[in-house]
Amino acid sequence: MKSDFDLIEEITAGDAAAFRVLIEKHQKHVINVIYSMTGQVQDAHDIAQEVFIKVYKNLAYFKMKAKFSTWIYRIAINETYNYIKKEKKHGFIKESERQNIKTFENIESRETQELVNKAIEKLPYKYRVVLVLKEIEDLSYKQISETLNCRIGTVESRLFRARNILKKTLLPYYKEGC
């Protein structure tokens, strides 16, 4: 499998097929991150389209010393943020569309999923981003700090807060100790 760097060089040299390979490699992560933060299936696809168009247009400015996945996550997070801001401004926060989604899980866990989704969507954006990158994408603290361009300590404290909020929603009967 070709590396992202090789693919980018081929694309900038005019190879359309290389761009397709690059999208195939990253689309799942990009769409899932956006979906985890918005809860909207169609919008997640639409925002992801914008992300890849931005990637395509700005490939020449991509610095090869950075990781491509970090760069694309950053664009996805910014685009999602713009989307959420716009939705709030227009005053329509859509209800989750999840009723019609096919999932890999069985029906019994549907309720739990619904609870998890709603809890994540309610988190303040800066906590939500860190939580999704950690729990859904399984990035390290260092990778998250590079993606968000912040200190590792900031990642840690946001994750701590995000989990504390989630704990109250998801595990309401779990009494805290100490």
Binding site: Q27, I31, I53, Y56, I101, S140, E176, C178
Partner: protein, 133 residues
């Protein structure tokens, strides 16, 4: 290690962002402190619940739709690699080159022609006034 420090490090612990020595100290404390252990279990349970989160199935037309959009986009800078404009430029380049060569040949021929004429006229002129040696 005290409860306060252990609690503070539990997130790092479950995320495996901790060095071996600290991990050892924490585990020693967790063995004897039921409260901290309960905290840890809550954190692990939450991670487990979140890991059950559905994975979205991606629209099969996602890439073809994207490629279509990229083709339709108007090129606004030179970073468009696959736009129609670029495609057109690539296709018409050989034709333009041939045309350019043809034009050069015609100009060259014309220039040569006029040179012949000039030489002829010069000869006539010379032959008229200066005796040929």
């Amino acid at each position: 290690m005290r409860c306060y420090s252990v609690k503070r490090l539990l997130n790092r612990y479950v995320d495996k962002e901790i060095d071996e020595t600290t991990k050892k100290f924490m585990e020693e404390h967790l063995k004897v402190c039921a409260l901290c252990k309960k905290e840890l279990e809550a954190l692990l349970l939450m991670k487990h619940v979140i890991s059950k989160k559905e994975k979205l199935e991606i629209d099969k037309n996602f890439i073809s739709l994207l490629e279509k959009r990229l083709m339709e986009e108007k090129p606004d800078n030179e970073t468009h690699y696959l736009t129609e404009m670029n495609y057109l430029a690539q296709r018409t380049a050989p034709v333009l080159l041939t045309l350019a060569v043809l034009v050069m040949i015609i100009i060259f021929a014309f220039y040569n022609d006029s040179q012949v004429m000039k030489d002829y006229m010069d000869n006539v002129f010379i032959s008229k006034d200066i005796p040929v040696l």
